[in-house]
Amino acid sequence: MIALMSDRLVIQSVTKFFGSAQNPVRAVDDLSLTVKENEFFTLLGPSGCGKTTLLRLVAGLESCDSGCILLDGADIAPLPANKRPVNTVFQSYALFPHMTVAENIGFGMRMQGKDPADIEKAANEVLDLMRMQGFGARYPSELSGGQQQRVALARALVNRPKILLLDESLSALDYKLRKEMQIELKRLQRETEITFIFVTHDQEEALSMSDRIAVMERGRIGQLGTPQEIYHRPVSRYVADFIGICNFVSAGSLGLAEDVHIGFRPEDATLLVRDGQKPETDGPVLGGRLHALSYHGAVTYYQVTLDSGETVTVADHEKLPVNVDDRVRVAVLPDMLIRCAP
């Protein structure tokens, strides 16, 4: 594989074992991927899928058992963490408790032997960028979780790394703050033009922020693509199940003769509640009984037990005139069927 100009990071057949020699576990299993320059790239997966290990391999906090990691065409796999031009925002923030915010932010530049005046200037600039002016003299223990998060980001960004690695960086924040920081992170990535690699188990976060997503499954890549591709064209049941809600029904109950898993998203189907009501499209219509419904404000989820015994979920923006145990029909949009290998 030749690294193109726009390829910032090329990971080639990287494998990492954990555990004892008798019982090795492949945390990362012969994995290859390419991250482009100025890309917001997300590693998504459940805990234990190897996404954090992969990030730590890029940071140099773990060493590869095989394979190579090319940064701008040069193999950085043999380099220790302190020699790699990448910086990490840790899940726990890992701010130095005995240093002020300004000292924390200046630490990386200080270790590189930069001029103290330059360090101060850069620290002030990055505090501005973070909208944290005037916090330089505080200690981390005097900051809220969201502010500590910003300092951790500032401490990494100030070094102008070739890649910024974010390890579940938002998961410790509460819901509202997390939404704010998602927007903030996108803004920072646009303004700094730094390549971001973001690790998360939150599929919503991944969909809303990423240019591309790699869904990881047991140390390998389940699927790599844009959020739209991952959401609408998942290649496996694993990916479809992990991203959002996906209904799977047997091909037979849709009147199809293919030997595949057929799925559809809750919003890609409509609930027909009146007898004789005509579906707007000519896709498959499945009969069943309403099992449960849950109101979520903008959307209401209807759980339907089909005549075939399978349960599917349908989403509608309106509160339909229907009660639990009523007979209903589910009309599926034919274009939106997801076909996965069994």
């Binding site: 302190n82 990490t88 726990s92 130095f96 005995h98 630490f107 990386g108 981390p140």
Partner: protein, 292 residues
């Protein structure tokens, strides 16, 4: 007087503190202002003789003259204690680091090894060093057998032996507090420093050392205070050639039969240690977020 329930709960603690810590100190302080009884003990009459004797000595005509000898003992004891404490840090820190970096299930084993010396009496352990250091002891015999020396080295009854004895006796008091600080250290901070271009040495200096500082300060206090007032090592391994403050105090209560003088020296030692502790505490306040 009505006491709040919180104060009542504190009473047993205060009682223990009074009986075991305050009362002996107050008795010693009171004795230091009394007259000596040549048969031992004190005469219950006020006198500053104990303190005067520390700084002045009478000549044949009974005139008092400024006398530096006891101050010199303070100076040499302090020097010995500082040196011993410093060496304890040099040895204790790497040992604590070693212990704290073992897998969790192995740490208890190392803890027990460090505390084994406490299972037996300090006096016996100090005697053991005589056997090791003396002319026909293990060290000299070993070196002679190896052909490295022709005649036995003078190891016993030297300042070296005293220092060795002090370091040996008090090293665990340095290791354990540093270990407890290092064991609680957030190792993710080390990774963060690594990620931020710090070399190993700089990680040690900028991250590990500040994290170990509470334990280090605790260790320094726990080692320095007993060494500055110790008398066993100087007695047994120094051969009484080198007077330390502890020996001086011990003598006044024993053969010297001058309890007020001994008590006065103790009071002076306590004052002096207290000033040191206050200085350390002031310095500690500068280490915000670490000690706090």
């Amino acid at each position: 007087m009505r006491l709040s329930s919180g104060t009542k709960l504190l009473l047993p603690f205060l009682a223990v503190m009074t009986v075991f810590f305050m009362a002996p100190m107050c008795i010693a302080l009171a004795y230091s202002f009394m007259q000596a009884n040549p048969l031992g003990g004190v005469k219950p009459a006020f006198s500053l003789a104990g303190y005067l004797r520390f700084f002045y000595s009478p000549d044949l005509d009974g005139n008092m003259h400024w006398d530096m000898r006891y101050l010199q003992i303070i100076y040499s004891s302090t020097k010995m204690a500082v040196l011993a404490t410093f060496i304890c840090v040099l040895i204790g820190f790497p040992m604590a680091w070693f212990m704290a970096t073992r897998p969790a299930q192995q740490r208890d084993f190392w803890m027990i090894l460090v505390t084994i010396p406490f299972w037996t009496n300090l006096l016996i352990r100090t005697y053991a060093w005589i056997l090791i250091l003396r002319g026909n002891g293990i060290v000299n015999t070993g070196l002679e057998k190896a052909g490295l020396i022709d005649a036995p080295l003078d190891l016993l009854y030297t300042p070296f032996a005293v220092g060795l004895g002090l370091v040996y006796s008090y090293l665990p008091f340095m290791i354990l507090p540093i270990y407890s600080s290092l064991e609680r250290m957030d190792w993710r901070l080390v990774e963060a420093a690594q990620d931020l271009y710090a070399t190993r040495l700089r990680i040690l200096w900028h991250v590990v050392l500040p994290a170990a500082m509470p334990g280090l300060i605790g260790g320094v206090i726990l080692v320095f205070i007993p060494t500055v007032g110790s008398f066993l090592a100087a007695d047994l391994l120094g051969g009484g050639k080198q007077m330390m403050l502890g020996n001086l105090i011990e003598n006044q209560f024993g053969m010297g039969r001058n309890w007020p003088f001994g008590a006065a020296i103790s009071a002076i030692l306590i004052t002096f240690v207290m000033i040191g502790l206050i200085l350390i505490a002031r310095r500690g306040q500068g280490l915000k977020g670490v000690v706090g």
